[in-house]
Amino acid sequence: MIGALSPTTVVLVVGAFLFAALPHLAAMPPWLAVIIVLAAVWRAAVEAFELRRPNWLIRGFLTFGGLALVILHYGTFWGRRAATVLLCVMIAAKLSEMFRLRDARVVAALGYFLIATQFLFSQKLLLFAYLVVGCALVTAALIRIQRDADSAPAPAKNFPPTAAGAASVVRDGFLLMLLAVPFALVLFALFPRLASPLWGMPENALDGRTGLSDEMSPGNIANLFADDSPAFRVSFDGPPPPRSERYWRGPVLWRFDGRTWRRLFYSNRAPERTPRPGPGAFAYTVQLEPSERRWLFSLDYPVRAPEDARLTADFELINKTPVTTLMSYDVISQPDFRDSVDLLQTMRRFALLLPEDSNPRTRAWAEELRSRYPADDRALIDAVLAWFNREDFFYSLETAPLGRHSADEFLFDLRVGYCEYYASAFVVLMRAAGIPARIVTGYQGGFWQAADEYLLVRQSDAHAWAEVWLEGQGWTRVDPTAAVSPSRIRDGARSAVSGSGGWLSSEWLYQLRNQYDRLQNLWNRWILGFDARRQQNFLASLGIDKLPPGLKAALLVVLAGLVLVPLALLLQSTTNGRARPDRLDRIWLRLRGRLRRAGIRPSIGETPLELAGRSAEDLDNGHELITLADEYSRLKYGAFGSAKAINAFGRKTDRWRPRRRNPSALKQS
């Protein structure tokens, strides 16, 4: 049956689509978003104001022009972002030729899909509201479409189709959605998860908003500092390490071409020796936000790699696949460990390598230092750090880019920079002085959420420091930034630049964000982090993990059914059942409530006038009640129940309070 779409339906479908597309629209190029919104709004306006329908030329342009724009901007239809943007464009194009019920249905149902795809990009707590409201709106649109289908072609004789205005349909949509929530929760908890994916994740899902990269050229993590979003959260089994020890180790960089630091291929070996867990070790769980990278972060020195990851010779943790969804892993770190007491000759060469003909001033300065401390590396390093501290070095995010002799320029001219600048210049200086050195990138510090006992590490906590190899001690951490700006290490990146720039919000907002993150943490732990492993634990805690799979499935069905049945009955009494009392009746019911509280019980089958007449005897202002009851009857059954009159009646009635006649006075009379 092909029915006609009513204007209300079209507006609802367009509204549901726009809401479902909202986060997608925010993430796509603005001009594309504007085209989609315009196309959708236009379609709604055509229906609402009876304009001319878009002709084939415009529809064709929307379809093929949209396709062309997407391919122009993204270069491909593959990749999650390009694909979802394409979906939005196609739905918008479909809207322009949506004249039949069937088309409207498809558009509306794709709304569910659009909502689900958003979670490939982010699963923030806030998006749960989007999920719930979006599903309700799409459901409402589908209800409205079905109303159209049923009322076609001509309304029945005695009763025209029940008024299905947008408001009542949206209410039904919300109701249906709310009643499905418990069912969804049961399924969510019990539905078996995949321990490993069936197919891989397309690359480049996060719109280039990625975490720490595996190379470093001073100046390129600056954009991370402005990013206040969480990088990961850590909960410790015991007490957390002191602030100054919270160095979260990421990629270790060796090769320097004068501008950029890169990893060394040899680093990918397995470590020759690993630390032993024992006294002084920290055991903790890291909940890593998606980063599109394979780096996992740990404190110095991880004892072994978590599942599906491996440990490199530089004690980096590398995951098997890029981290595209929230993942959590357990690590044990033993800080009391000597990394590479014996340095291989090849590695030593790499750790001393510097580009030819660069940084002459730094080299000269290194030679001078070396002549001052001919054998004592430790003393030399201390002297450099003291020099950093003494001279006019400043920690700031607002600094200039460096040229070819980057270390020279920074150490002797610029002297304003942040961790990357210091670490880079420091390592160049060390290598020039003949001390093997390398750069470690990662995060430093984090915000301790005392109430929930977890450490929140933000992208803005990104850091770079140096490691030098010392005879007998192996690789040793040296943080030149700490020498310049101790507060950066003590209190985090925020404090080091406070007052210098507006890149972080005001204090109370910062606090608010910390509070919000606590909720987000719970959300991550219980909803997003609910994976195959956690599900096993959950089922074990209920004691149903040992059941055979068939029985488990049966249990799932039974439980889901149990949840659904009472809900369906509830639904019956609300949507499908009697109409809820209209405004006039609600006014009267409120009045009855006040009477009841005053001790006058309305009895069954009593008309308003009878009730008023009976209770007037007990009330001081009983005559007013009779007037009100009279007016109610006239509004209800008479021909004059205009909205205005009902409003006036409501105002009058809601002001009225029963005043009981004084019982003692009654007795006397």
Partner: protein
């Protein structure tokens, strides 16, 4: 009422073995349905009469959900999973609602109208809610026919809907199995019930488009042509109950202070006997069609007419009931 033409369904030209087998299956299926409970109106739809299956759109949504489930499971995307389960829950609820929407609906009656062959027969079906629940989007349809407009029933109300059934041949026609369905609220599930109206309907033959003029056709045994009441005014008489209003002579009544009715000389109405033998035409059906046309003409001209149809003789008469009698005789003839 000799041999009734059993079915209005067109007989399939190729009566292949597969077709016969299919028919047999359908007959068994119908018998099974009838065994499950009352199937003739009036009946109240209950658990045993209501069937429910996903619609095509429902399957499509199911497919979409499956895709969402696979994707979410694969990427371990918990919010995606939750969306999938939420929509699945909405779907299950909608299935339940569709069932409840039909449960307790009473098909109170099913009254066929009358039709000439080739016209559509209007079947008026009255529906009532017996469970004090509002019903939405109840649609009546029959196989191969466009569905009737949907009916919304307020709680405890009743309403009727009209299903048009096309007819083809004259004679007794079985009303096909009728389906009462609902896809409320989302259109993902269709709940339906079947019922058979017990009536058989006599479909009248199709009137011929062209027929010889009536007067030459009948062997008129009256002397005059048809009297038109305005022709010959005869006089006035006292008004009696039953006289039509337009015959009241208002001016005269005013003068005489009581109602007077105009009287006409009523020349005997023309009495015609319509005979099958008089109808020209190549085949029996053509001649019957011409007779039908004559009956209609005679009725319009307020003639008195009788009919001789083979062994059946209908005494001359006039009026709606008489014409129905004649048309029925023609419908059954042969």
């Amino acid at each position: 009422m000799s041999s009734s033409r059993s079915s209005a369904k067109p007989a399939f030209p190729d009566g292949g073995r597969a077709r016969a087998w299919l028919d047999a299956v359908q007959i068994r299926f119908a018998a099974w349905l009838r065994r499950r409970g009352p199937v003739h109106p009036p009946l109240t739809l209950g658990y045993r009469q209501i069937y429910i299956l996903p619609t095509r759109f429902g399957w499509l949504v199911g497919l979409l959900l499956f895709a969402m489930l696979l994707g979410s499971l694969n990427f371990n995307n918990n919010l995606g999973l939750f969306t999938t389960f939420l929509v699945a829950g909405i779907g299950l609820l909608s299935m339940h609602i569709a069932h409840r929407n039909l449960d307790g609906v009473r098909v109170a009656g099913c009254v066929p109208g009358q039709a000439f062959a080739g016209d559509s027969l209007e079947l008026s079906i009255s529906l009532r809610d017996t469970r004090d629940r509002a019903r939405r989007g109840l649609v009546v349809e029959s196989k191969g026919l466009p569905p009737a407009a949907g009916v919304d029933l307020p709680a405890s109300a009743s309403d009727e809907t009209i299903l048009s059934i096309p007819t083809r041949d004259r004679g007794w026609m079985e009303i096909p199995r009728i389906r009462l369905r609902t896809r409320h609220p989302l259109g993902w599930f269709e709940a339906w019930s079947w019922f058979w109206p017990e009536h058989r309907v006599l479909v009248w033959p199709r009137p011929a488009d062209q027929a010889p003029p009536l007067l030459t056709a009948g062997r008129s045994d009256s002397r005059n042509r048809a009297g038109d009441e305005s022709d010959e005014f005869h006089g006035l008489r006292d008004w009696r109950e039953g006289d039509p209003l337009h015959r009241i002579a208002w001016k005269a009544s005013q003068r005489h202070q009581h109602l007077l009715a105009r009287q006409f000389t009523r020349p005997e109405r023309d009495r015609i006997i319509l005979r099958l033998a008089d109808a020209p035409g190549r085949s029996l059906e053509d001649r019957i069609s011409i007779l039908v046309r004559w009956v209609i003409e005679a009725e319009r001209n307020e003639f008195e007419y009788g009919m001789e149809l083979g062994t059946t003789n209908i005494e001359p008469g006039a009026g709606r009931a008489h014409s129905v009698r004649c048309l029925n005789a023609l419908g059954e003839f042969g």
